[in-house]
Amino acid sequence: MTSIDFTALSAKHTSDATRARLRKRYWAEVRLKAYGIIAIAFAAAALLLLGSTIVTKTLSVTHEYYLQLEPRIEASERDMERLTSDNPRLRANLRRPVSESLQAAVPGEISRRDGRALTGIVSANAGLELGDLAKADNSLVGQTVAFDALLDDNTQLYLRGAFGRPQPINSSETANVIVAEGQPVVVEVGPAALSEVFAVLRAERSFQAERAAAERDRQQNAVDVTIDQIGEASDPEQIALLERRLDAYERARDAAEARRTELRRQATVRREITFEMGEDDATLFINIGGGWLKAETVERERVTGAFLEPIPAGTYAEGSWQALMIERPEARRPISDRQVVWIENFDAQGKIVQKVNSRLLEASDSASAELAGIWGAIVGSFWTMVVTFSLAFPLGVMAAIYLEEFAPKNRVTDLIEVNINNLAAVPSIVFGLLGLAIFVAGVDITLFGTEITIGGFLPRSSPMAGGAVLALMTLPTIIIAGRASIRAVPPSIRDAALGLGASRLQTAVHHVLPLAMPGILTGSIIGMAQALGETAPLLLVGMNSFIQEPPGDPFSPGNVLPTLIYQWNSNSERLFDDKTAAAISVLLIFLVAMNALAVLLRKRFERRW
């Protein structure tokens, strides 16, 4: 063995190699810190994005829009019966006074079809709400009252600018309105007035030309393929068929090409052009006073169209008239141009008012987006949580105490422990299937020739069934948390109690459990919070049903917040989208509150021995 010179080894601590190694180590630390910061920044950004999306959407539904009307309440005999009944569930739908007051609020006579469109801007529920007003005070019947009618969901979205509202464009010229009997209305304007409209129309034409070009290429492909098929075919009948097809393809190709050429020309030509405003084009309005003209053709210094609300003929100076444009074509928005004009006039008259949307929290689910609220789901979630807690907590605590304090340590208890830990990791939808089979549907088995059903004692869609399923899911969490906190109680406490002559049960109940309780509660609350946000298992026991009333007890059908969110999110009405965000906000508030409670409990009762 060679002898080692430790003095020489010590000298290495001040060598260049050591310094280099030191630099490398510092650099590695800096890098590691940077990675960490990047990861956290990324997570924070994602969270911020999610949070801001939800908050923005939620804020958009904190208020809802009403239209101030002055209906004269008139009730038919059948309506009167309902209005005077003591049963609060019997509601009268006074939709006629609502629509009559609407018609009275707009100038001129309205056709039946337009009448329907006009009534469509207020909620279908407005009649019922007027009925509620009259039911509360029967003396109002026959009187004219001030009434705020809830607007339809699409109208509300329109007012919030979801489809774009008419945007003013350059109107720094005089406008000359020419009205002739039997002729379309003509408005003559200065040359600069319509340049913005042309820009939008040209862009749209250019886009359409590209689509036409794509269509032409598709047809050309079909032509090529068909020509090849004709070359390979031998059966004359088949050849005739293919040639007929070829002919059709060629015609379609030529038509697309012709369309493309025309659109291209319109998109590029600068002067002397006439745009026909179709359904797929932006809408151009001329607004003078309360009168509205919708453009049908647009030329350089001339707009031809029809009145939606009449404008007196004459010459209007700069500033007294307005050209307005909605870029989104009428065909792609649920509010027609006719409705836009009504709504804009109501808004200009100050008849549209905003109110705090208490309906969102107080109402239950509804098919109409403007009426839907989360109260039913909150009550459903409450019952479900009550059932889950009262099943899972006692069972979980008892299981934890037995396993920690009483059970012998052997293979069986080891097996149980492993299984409980694994159970906590089982996907929740599996618990849903289990719960469906056992609690709701029941399992049919044949025993000694007779068929018997096991389980199936809970009604479908009920908080009882949902709560039982969630209890299965939460149980392992509570048992694990319970065992951990029971184990954290120092053995000296057990020794003290046993040394005084307390039995094992007394030791566990009087001393161990009270000390472990904060920990058990913390674990349970976190388990409950998890259950509160759970969706998948509840879908399987039917808690995603459409239920318009809060469940009065755990056995009535109900739904919960997460399943309501799931349902609303798959609805096509756009207002549901915003209300979904609001429901998510409420759910998150509950979850954060529960977790805060868990943290508070932990801090409050934290013990050091």
């Binding site: 120092p490 406490i493 003290a496 046993l498 040394g499 002559g501």
Partner: protein, 291 residues
């Protein structure tokens, strides 16, 4: 012993006494007269006690008689089995699943490991104080009242309060805590906590008090208080104390048993063990050659 600065004259006096103890075993109790020993009643009669932890034998063939109204101390190096043996006396070892006890241990003539004996009832008669003070994290009142409550010792609240006052007085803690019985027991100082644990054990009205190194977690002043207390307690109880401090054994006990590697090598009057030990190992241990 290191020099200590202490605030009060009383404390200084106590330190002085400890110093003399440490140096020359000067303060030994006077040997009792022969007839007194003969009259002494035997509380525990242990014969050929073996204790196994699984396969390992922790106690080998220990035979010992423990007297009533006297202090018996168990001394010996670490791991010699004195605590294990102590825990056999009130069957605290039952809580360890792999522990087996052989031989006989009789309390007033009844085998404590008999099938008919309920260990819970046994522990009410044989109280225990542990190495580390372990008051329940509850009020002082609840700590002391727990034993009487679960054993039904008090008929009413007044009786219960009487028991608690008497127990705290016997544990020399009453004057310090009588005004704050509702404050938590864990808020007391280490020495007070240990006296609280003793009061708690006394409140159950046991016949025997087992103490497993009751002073090892305490400072010298608290230790002195506990030792005075033990001296008082022997008027009414049979006290068995496990200790690592030979001075303590010499100061408080009348009988001393020396344990070594699971066997009891010697058991005699304390004065005899510390002046003329009968076994070479005992001599080596008490003179500090090992241990």
């Amino acid at each position: 012993m290191t020099e200590m600065t202490l605030p009060t004259a009383a404390a200084a006096e106590r330190t002085e006494r400890e110093r003399t103890n440490a140096s020359g075993l000067a303060d030994l109790p006077a040997p009792r007269a022969a007839e007194e020993i003969a009259r002494a009643e035997i509380k525990f009669r242990c014969r050929d006690v073996d204790v196994f932890y699984g396969e390992a034998q922790a106690i080998k063939q220990v035979t010992i008689d423990i007297e009533d109204k006297a202090v018996t101390s168990f001394i010996g190096p670490s791991g010699c089995g004195k605590s294990t043996f102590l825990r056999c006396l009130n069957r605290m070892n039952d809580t360890i699943p792999i522990c087996r006890v052989g031989g006989t241990i009789e309390l007033d003539g009844d085998d404590v490991y008999d099938r008919d004996v309920d260990p819970v009832q046994l522990r009410a008669r044989v109280g225990m104080v542990f190495q580390k003070p372990n008051p329940f994290p509850k009020s002082i009142f609840e700590n002391v009242s727990y034993g009487p409550k679960i054993h039904g010792l008090a008929q009413n609240k007044a009786e219960l309060e009487g028991i608690i006052e008497e127990s705290l007085k016997r544990a020399a803690l009453w004057d310090e805590v009588k005004d704050r019985l509702e404050s938590p027991g864990t808020g007391l100082s280490g020495g007070q906590q240990q006296r609280l644990c003793i009061a708690r054990a006394i409140a159950t009205a046991p016949e025997v008090l087992l103490m497993d190194e009751p002073c090892s977690a305490l400072d010298p002043i608290a230790t002195a208080q506990i030792e005075e207390l033990i001296d008082e307690l022997k008027q009414n109880y049979s006290v068995v104390i496990v200790t690592h401090s030979m001075q303590q054994a010499a100061r408080v006990s009348q009988k001393t048993a020396f344990f070594h590697l699971g066997s009891m090598l010697e058991y005699d009057e304390t004065s005899k063990i510390f002046t003329a030990p009968g076994h070479e190992k005992t001599l080596h241990y008490i003179t500090g050659r090992f241990g």
